[in-house]
């Protein structure tokens, strides 16, 4: 039902653009330059169509049904799990838990893996560039159970200070929780090295792969990572779905998170037993149609030469970086050597919101604000930044629109 993977050696962004109807729709009469895929990506026709056709032909609730539609829907749901497994390079399909998004996936680890064992004074190591989704669940453990958060700084160029990370891991560390790619700086962290160092001290590692999985090729086995989380809507897939990869040994030992249908073995009045993973962690009716959409999205993405897509996105990043370098009133935040296609910046004399409003009227969609990374804002002494993020469907014209929008904004806002 999903598209047969089309393997192309070079990436044709203009062809890909045609898969995204929304990109052709003008905004305020201007062509849309959608530079906000870091917040959420647009969805190709094949994803929307696959979900619709599935709902029109094979839909029912999964798992417990004996009838035809239920079997068909269950097959699609479990096939989607295998698609995610393959996408992440997991050894087994039952190491993939479907969640409502990456935020829930990280909370699942906090509630089911750490909460039952954490003691006052136990430590969780995280970096200052984490998204709130990879901060707040650990704050809960601090507030409620006395865990200690150990913060690892980034260097001025936005790269991770790996020596500081190493030093932060102590005998009391229970988990390293780190982003694979910063949603503000674009920094890609050296996950394999981080895992190696943490494991050397017997500490498991969770990676927030929300951005990383979009721009990098992930192989959880090669990384030897313990937990890895993704979200559908940034991977050109639907909202309402994400996934947690976790090593089977962890899943087997973890207690359930949400309770409800599907995740039990037996329920009686005064006792209860739970199903094995992955069912144990998928209480209630799962996002069935969304799982099918996510599989279609991953198939779509995997149908391209991912290295070529990455090169294309990197070209846009470089082109934009060069463009703003000429503007001495723009300060880029995040210039790490290993960096994905995200450009955050401050423009002198302009608040990010005013700038974004002006860009918007030029058809240029960027994010302005703290990007759910307030700790990082404090680190760089700002309250907000503007952020342009690049996806496979962006082109140099989008960057040109951004650059000329920046000039207009300066004209309006900083003219005296």
């Amino acid at each position: 039902m999903t598209a047969a993977p089309k393997i192309t050696s070079a990436f044709d962004a203009e062809a890909a653009r045609r898969d995204f109807a929304i990109l052709a729709k003008p905004v305020y009469g201007k062509p849309l330059a959608y530079l906000d895929s870091g917040a959420s990506a647009q969805k190709p026709a094949i994803v929307l169509e696959t979900m619709k056709v599935f709902a029109e032909t094979d839909y029912a609730n999964v798992h417990r049904g004996v009838h035809y539609l239920s079997g068909a829907a269950t097959d699609r749901y479990e096939a989607a799990r295998r698609t995610v497994q393959k996408f992440l390079g997991a050894a087994r399909e039952d190491e993939i838990i479907f969640t409502k998004g990456a935020t829930e996936a990280i909370n699942l680890v906090a509630y089911s893996y750490l909460m039952p064992v954490i003691q006052p004074g136990d430590e969780i190591v995280l970096s200052v560039m984490e998204h709130h989704s990879n901060i707040v669940p650990w704050h809960f453990l601090r507030e409620r159970q006395g865990a200690v958060l150990r913060w690892v700084d980034v260097c001025d160029d936005g790269s991770l200070d790996i020596e500081a990370l190493d030093a932060a891991i102590t005998a009391r560390t229970k988990l390293v929780a780190i982003t694979h790619m910063s949603n503000v700086l674009g920094t890609v962290t050296p996950l394999a090295e981080i895992v190696k160092r943490a494991h050397a001290k017997g500490v498991p590692v969770l990676a927030d792969g929300v951005q990383g999985a979009v721009h990098e090729i992930v192989d959880v086995q090669a990384l030897d990572i313990d937990f890895y989380t993704i979200t559908g809507h940034k991977l050109y897939g639907p909202t309402g779905i994400g996934a947690l990869y976790a090593k089977r040994k962890h899943l087997k030992a973890m207690r359930p998170f949400n309770g409800g249908g599907e995740m039990i073995r037996e329920v009686a009045r005064d006792r209860i037993t739970y199903a094995d993973p992955p069912a144990r962690f998928e209480a209630g009716t799962p996002p069935i149609i969304e799982s099918v959409g996510l599989a279609a999205a991953l198939d779509y993405l995997s149908g391209f030469d991912r290295a070529a897509v990455k090169a294309h996105e990197h070209d846009l990043l470089t082109y934009a970086r060069e463009g703003v370098r000429e503007l001495n009133w723009v300060r880029v935040i995040g210039d790490a050597q290993t960096k994905g296609a995200i450009l955050s910046f401050e423009a002198e004399g302009m608040h990010a919101h005013d700038l974004a409003t002006i860009l918007d009227r030029e058809g240029v969609a960027v994010r302005a604000g703290h990007h759910c990374a307030q700790v990082l804002m404090v680190r760089f002494g700002v309250t907000s930044t503007s952020r342009a993020s690049f996806a496979l469907y962006n082109n140099r014209a989008d960057v040109d629109a951004l650059l000329s929008g920046l000039h207009k904004a300066r004209e309006i806002l900083a003219k005296d």
Binding site: H353, R361, G369, Q374, T383
Partner: protein
């Protein structure tokens, strides 16, 4: 260039945001509140000195944020200085109408003229919150911020 942008970021607004009136802390404040918009990180603190008759004898603000939020706070201090609580409420209601582009409520003509510079906001519904932050903070200061 988009006319609505020119109207939004007109000289008066930019001037208010760059050279805010009544900026700074007020030592003798009887009331104070902090406003914060978690969506954008904008922040404003409003200091009030209310006299025996609940009249705004003095008003100051401090803040950090976009041109709209700063200009709106500055404009507000101009408008509220010397007003009674009832007059202030009337001004606030009127201001909300203006920025949302709703039919204007009963307002003294000079106040209306004063606020008119903010009318451009009605074309930018996503930015209305920036403009109302200071006003809601003022309201909060009166109701819960007695020092």
């Amino acid at each position: 260039m988009d006319n609505s942008l020119r109207e939004l970021y007109q000289e008066v607004i930019l001037d208010h945001s760059r050279h805010p009136r009544h900026y700074g802390a007020l030592e003798s404040a009887t009331h104070k509140a902090e406003g914060y918009n978690p969506l954008c990180g904008d922040r404003v603190t409003v200091y009030l000195k209310l006299d025996a008759g609940n009249r705004v004898a003095d008003i100051r603000f401090e803040g950090k944020g976009c041109a709209i939020s700063q200009a709106s706070a500055s404009l507000m201090t101009d408008l509220l200085l010397g007003k009674t609580a009832a007059e202030a409420d009337q001004l606030m209601t009127g201001f909300l109408h203006v920025v949302k582009g709703e039919p204007p409520s009963d307002l003294p003509e000079d106040a209306r003229n004063h606020m008119e510079v903010m009318a451009g906001l009605s074309a930018f519904p996503m930015r209305v919150k920036c403009a109302t932050l200071a006003w809601y903070t003022y309201k909060n200061a009166v109701e819960e911020g007695s020092q």
